[in-house]
Assembly symmetry: C2
Homo-oligomer: 329 residues x 2
């Protein structure tokens, strides 16, 4: 079974405790190396549905046939997955385990050139609903411990295809970044939720960028990169799958408005956007507060960041928030 030879594997570094997914299949993806996008037809455009694996879900106005055109949003397995549902039966010994999971792609719309910030409010809301739908579905697998939703925009941010899309990763472990948050938040919980407090603090310290009825967008106190932005639901809750309709509409609204601000201020920068929600491993995380984080890719992280785990940011968040508020009027 040659296929099994390239199944992805999780390996734990014995010195640092960090996990890496070794995924040889990903070296075959277009732009997986250094030299940019694949050529050939776009696999995410209508009419090219046969270029992706069979869809797992789609939204359409009227009746249509599976894997045919006529959809508004389409969800497919990643053709070059970092996680697979049935990996080879490698053991868990010695810091390795099969990279069992799901790796899906949510294609935002049929339009190759319609980036999130230019979607109409109803379409953007429906996209957020698709996020929640896939999030709920993948959390439902008993062995899935964490689901991550990430949007990479632009080649410098790691997007190997231009057609706007979001990736969903269902992992068999709670990843390091979430474990670090959980550890600190649990210890801080006696004093209340630190993210609720961060919203208050951002209001006081002029790091609030924008607010609507259900979300705040803020420049965090220790921003790692220029224009780093957090999107925080005003109602405390640990679990994205329980977000209500008004919250999804508020999330679509605030994301699109801040992204339009960044596009205007920085001439459409590449960026990464991701969603952090509590693990779905059956434990209780009432102290956690789900949210989204956005980092425009304006600065190359260099040896210092890799050597230290610290960041050097030339733009204070107070100034970033001021500029963004200015352009959004």
């Amino acid at each position: 079974m040659a296929q099994k030879d390239i199944d992805p594997e999780l390996r734990r570094d014995l010195l640092t405790g960090g996990w890496t997914i070794l995924a040889p299949a990903r070296s075959r993806r277009p732009g997986g190396g250094k030299d940019g996008r694949g050529r050939g037809p776009c696999p995410f455009c209508p009419g090219n549905e046969r270029l992706t694996p069979p869809e797992v879900w789609a939204e359409s106005e009227g009746p249509r046939s599976k894997d045919g055109p006529g959809w508004n949003i389409r969800v497919v397995p990643n053709l070059y997955p970092a996680l697979v549902e049935n990996p080879g039966t490698g053991g868990k010994a010695g810091g390795r385990m099969p990279a069992r999971g799901f790796h899906e792609v949510i294609i935002h719309s049929p339009r190759h050139d319609l980036s999130l910030e230019r979607m109409d409010p109803e379409s953007a809301y429906r996209l957020m609903r698709a996020y929640r739908l896939r999030y709920r579905e993948l959390c439902g697998h008993p062995w899935v411990r964490q689901v991550l939703v990430t949007l990479n925009h632009g080649r410098e941010a790691g997007a190997s295809l231009e057609h706007p899309h979001t990736q969903v990763f269902a992992l068999p472990l709670v990843p390091r970044a979430i474990r670090e948050e959980l550890g600190r938040w649990r210890r801080a919980a006696a004093r209340g939720c630190p993210l609720c407090a961060a919203v208050e603090e951002a209001r006081r310290e002029e790091r609030l960028i924008l607010e609507n009825g259900s979300f705040a967008a803020l420049a965090p106190f220790a921003s790692r990169q220029p224009y780093e932005t957090w999107f925080v639901p005003l109602r405390h809750g640990e679990d994205f799958s329980r977000a209500g309709e008004a919250e999804l509409r508020g999330m679509a609204d605030i994301l699109c408005r801040v992204l339009r601000g960044l596009a205007g201020l920085l001439d459409h920068p590449p960026y990464n956007l991701w969603l952090h929600s509590a693990p779905c491993d059956g434990s209780e995380y009432a102290y956690y507060h789900w949210h989204l984080e956005l980092v425009p890719r304006l600065v190359v992280t260099a040896g210092f960041e890799l050597a230290s785990g610290l960041f050097i940011n030339p733009l204070p968040p107070e100034e970033a928030a001021r500029r963004l508020r200015g352009i959004m009027g």
Copy 2:
């Protein structure tokens, strides 16, 4: 004192515990934005010494005047420092502290185009000696807790100037990446040094790339990126400042040979190289083992890495080591 307004500041993220250095002065550096190198004359070339701050050390064949030409290696403060010796007197309250420290540049040689891997063995050894000299000197300040030595090669790796140079950072805290290593190594110490064991394991599992009398180069078990390489002194020791002459010669030799291998295999890739040694905060770290880590910048880290703290690596380290051994014959 307008100068004090842009003094760098350390801020701790209250949710994740991570520190960021806010360093507004760095936005002024050439190529500090997105669009590449500065124009104008190279401040690291002989004859342009006045373009850097006054030198703190230099090596020359014969007598010369300070900040004049005639040097072989020259060390200057970074013109756009992330850390300064006498920052403003901001307090430590609320997760912030002055970014007190040193940020130096070691200019490898007078030659603008002489990258490390093409230096002759004697010059490369003298550069390693300069590393040790600055490391020792900066560790000597009582309030310095950690000194990091990093070499960025190529613009995609964050080098804003082309003339080969190395940066030295003296920090008033033990950074996260070192703390993580220390925590795990201390717990593992009863079973012996995990890095000594990693060298043995690399030999058994064909992840050893090269060995000389004093150093091993290996592809780590859970490599985060294609061709990640660790350089490990064969003699266990926690403190780079105690490296002996033979070790410095071995370090120069193995770095140059592996870098030549990577240059041949991957057409001179950008890379980051850094040195990890025990903190110089007066505590005992006999279980630690100093070493260097190298990551070529072949893959863009994307939202998944930022969201999870995990890495996706398409190239298994066994294959990376095999290819490097092949080209180095």
